[in-house]
């Protein structure tokens, strides 16, 4: 049986979304911070859109630091890892998602779609539902192994509020590239859940069929409008 690519949110991602398994909040960059200790600080201007588990980046931020707690007062927070010096400007980011391309010539017989769970180690090893492996499009031009990092945009809610949709602000485009693809997968590179054996990495959120080829040129993928009708990832009660 030949492999295939079918557009779908993966079953595993649906369960993960209900398990705090993905953080789609957009980055909050360059926020002024007043520290009261190496692990606690207060934002000069409190704002919405921060969540426990978001990574903190900035000069002197501890490597791998994430928000451990928020509150109890407005703008106050603590981090999981101490800063190494004065931290006055911080960027908070949710999970880092990537879009990887699935090659047109599928080596295995994997039916990428609802049953796909992990991107595994793209470019390496035997393909399976838990590893894109050698079914990844080979690097070319600005397409690098593992794919393109995506920056989430603000989550939209329709009015009246009966749906919410996730989108990405990154231009999904590759230049100077020779590519021949059957589709793409968006996966979460951040570790946020564990499996029985180890932390779960590179969990696939969605798979999309997208057939095309380009020779030494430019390929642009345009995502659908981020709303309750066509958005890439959307929740709606009806």
């Amino acid at each position: 049986m030949a492999g295939s690519v079918t557009t779908a949110l993966t079953n595993s991602s649906l369960a993960e979304m209900l398990s705090a398994g993905h953080c789609y909040l957009p980055p909050q960059t360059g926020l002024a911070v007043t520290q009261s200790s190496t692990i606690s600080g207060t934002l000069t201007t409190p704002l919405a859109g921060l969540a426990v588990g978001m990574a903190q980046t900035g000069t002197n931020a501890g490597a791998g630091a994430v928000i451990a707690t928020l509150g109890p007062t407005a703008g106050a927070y603590t981090t999981s890892i101490a800063s190494t010096g004065a931290l006055v400007s911080a960027t908070f980011t949710g999970d880092v998602f990537k879009i990887a391309l699935i090659a047109a010539a599928l080596a295995g017989n994997i039916a990428y779609g609802t049953l796909t769970t992990n991107a595994g180690t793209p470019g390496t090893s035997t393909p399976s539902q838990a590893n894109l492996g050698t079914d990844e499009q080979a690097a070319s031009g600005s397409y690098a192994a593992g794919g393109l990092a995506l920056v989430p945009s603000a989550i939209t809610q329709t009015n009246p509020v009966n749906s919410a949709a996730v989108g990405f602000s990154t231009t999904i485009q590759w230049t100077s590239a020779t590519l021949n693809i059957a589709g793409a997968m968006i996966y979460n590179t951040s570790t946020r859940l564990s499996s029985a054996a180890a932390p779960e990495n590179n969990r696939v959120v969605l798979v999309t069929a997208a057939v095309g080829s380009v020779t030494s040129g430019t390929l642009t993928l345009t995502a659908p409008t981020q709303d309750g009708h066509t958005g890439l990832i959307r929740l709606s009660p009806n």
Binding site: G58, T91, A149, S176, A210, G217, T218
Partner: protein
């Protein structure tokens, strides 16, 4: 949740192609129309493409000129160039208001759609010129007029940051690049 794909072999999307796909994106509901409405919508689509092409040409000249001057151009805002987008929006809305659809559609809804689509494609066009500069080892220009910038440096901090932002090997590499880009702060 399907992606639309735009492909150009041997180089970048041309100004004319960018104008055409932007116009097509704006009037994508034409496929659901019939009779005179469909004809009028296609006419408007062509008119919008004609309006947009010189704007994409100006954008292309600005991007290529900036990249030719120095790698710092890669650190400019990734948002759509405000004057370019505003000029496009104004001219598209004027064409729309002069069309038969002005009487049939809500102006505010049309304006919101135009804003979203124009900003998306202006961002895509800017990104294309900058990404091609990085991925081709310093090429600028369009079509048959592609040329290498002699002092392109693959190790320049802006080139490295561009790669870290889009093709990081770890999530932290991406986060650091994002922080540096948005704040101007340089981290060790």
């Amino acid at each position: 949740m399907f992606f639309r794909m735009v492909i150009t072999n041997h180089g970048k999307h041309s100004d004319a192609k960018l104008a055409t796909v932007t116009a097509a994106d704006l009037v994508e509901n034409a496929a659901n129309l019939s009779g005179q409405d469909a004809i009028d919508m296609r006419r408007l689509e062509n008119q919008i493409a004609d309006i947009l092409e010189p704007h994409f040409k100006a954008l292309s000249d600005r991007e290529n000129g900036g990249l030719e001057k120095g790698h710092e151009h890669l650190a400019l805002s990734y948002e759509a160039h405000p004057e370019t987008a505003a000029a496009m929006e104004a001219e598209i809305m004027a064409a729309y208001k002069a069309s038969p659809f002005a009487a049939k559609m809500d102006d505010a809804v049309a304006a919101a759609n135009v804003h979203e689509v124009v900003h998306k494609w202006v961002c895509d066009a800017q990104h294309m010129h900058r990404d091609h500069f990085v991925s081709s080892g310093g090429q600028v220009g369009n079509g048959a007029d592609l040329r290498k910038v002699p002092d392109f440096d693959p190790n320049n901090e802006h080139v490295r940051r561009w790669k870290s932002l889009y093709t990081p090997s770890t999530p932290d590499e991406h986060r650091k690049a994002l922080h540096e880009l948005m704040t101007g702060e340089r981290m060790p």
